[in-house]
Symmetry: C2
Subunit: 213 residues, 2 copies
DNA sequence: AGCGCTATGCGATCATGTTCGCATAGATGC
DNA sequence: GCATCTATGCGAACATGATCGCATAGCGCT
């Protein structure tokens, strides 16, 4: 593992070689994930494309799922950039939330496979991978909470709600729709509609009596 | 596969033997899942306990995950029985929903492993398994929708809400909390609280203006 | 140059879910 | 009773993610 201990010379030739190898591995993995999907992208194939033996990959990565997490982190970054580029803090909170899910969905829809496997990664015994996947989720939940909080201080939302709980509910509602979509039970449009419906529902609430404590 | 073609004699000795084998396999699988967890319950170990070779299992089951689905279906049944036993249709809808999640959680808490793997099963390439796992989810969503619908006709709920959307939101909210719990990020109590909070939130709604269309 | 040390790489090997070809036993038809 | 068919079972083999022990190379130190 390259990340441990003191590293006096960052220009150590070996470390540079390692960094280049890591880059090649990630590139190969990304390409193969997109070409064949996660499961069909064999470690041996990734290794071959990266120009090395399969076992060498484990010098740089703890498991195949870790490669996935790296890829997911990048996708998340991309979705966020796109969202932030167009986002205005003054927009109605509900709109902002909807826009966010739109951006996210735009990206995930291009990689249905990864969407599903991301969820799978969350269920793996290797707690390293699972918690990193969950951390990604938490980041998204955090962003949603931030949006909601903005709305709350602006008086856009019921001040009594816990924004974190709400953000979680929104997030997992979206996940649920995407699982169905990724399994072919929902068309892409229906998935988007389902997410919108969930947002709508959360804003309106189920109860008849509105602000009854 | 035993389920195909005509079966003139249901007392066919071979079929009986097959049925007994299936029963042994399921019993062995259940025991080992609980003793060691799904991943650590090797197919070869299951086979050994069932008194047969590993490959023979595949005469009765399409994959290891199918054994899981069988087990999950049984757990679901158990949770429902318990819920129905104590449920009264006249109770407040929110209470009923909370009680349902309580029963479900009681059971799942005894099998944290299965909780997680059930989600994983939902992400599997073998669409047979994935859709069966999803079907179980849909059943639960259906029950929740039924509860909500009962509340709606009784005037307990805002008549404008789509009970199915709401049921899904509730269900996936619970799933989200359980994923965190199963990964050790949430204590069991915190998981229950999180689910309750989600229910609470859904009933109250985020928006400030209550019944605005 | 020589000696350790560490990062990297590799082939053999393992564990495990799954598939395959073959064997057996029970049923059916003649 | 024999041929045939089918449900069941088995051991060998396969694919693949992961591990292990050993080799190599680049670095620092003397």
């Amino acid at each position: 593992m390259a990340a441990s201990g003191a590293r006096p010379r960052p220009d150590d030739g070996r470390l540079l070689r390692g960094a280049r190898s890591r880059a090649r591995i990630r590139e190969a993995a990304r390409a193969l994930f997109r070409e064949r999907g996660f499961d069909a992208a064999t470690l041996r194939a990734i290794a071959a494309r990266a120009g090395m033996g399969a076992s060498s990959i484990y010098r740089h990565v703890r498991s195949k799922h870790e490669l996935l997490v790296l890829e997911l982190a990048e996708l998340q970054e991309e979705a966020w950039r796109e969202f932030r580029r167009r986002d205005a803090r003054t927009t109605a909170t509900r709109e902002r939330v909807l826009r966010f899910f739109e951006r996210q969905h735009e990206l995930l829809a291009r990689h249905p496979d990864l969407t599903v496997i991301a969820i799978r990664a969350t269920t793996y015994p290797d707690s390293r991978v699972a918690s990193r996947a969950l951390a990604l989720n938490d980041r998204t939940i955090g962003l949603l909470a931030e949006i909601l909080q903005g709305g709350r201080v602006r008086g856009d939302l019921d001040p009594g709600v816990d924004v974190l709980v709400a953000a979680r509910a929104l997030f997992y509602g979206a996940i649920g729709a995407r699982i169905s979509w990724a399994n072919g039970l929902l068309s892409e449009g229906a998935c988007r509609t389902a997410i919108e419906d969930t947002v709508e529902l959360l804003f309106r609430g189920l109860g008849r009596a509105p602000a009854s404590p």
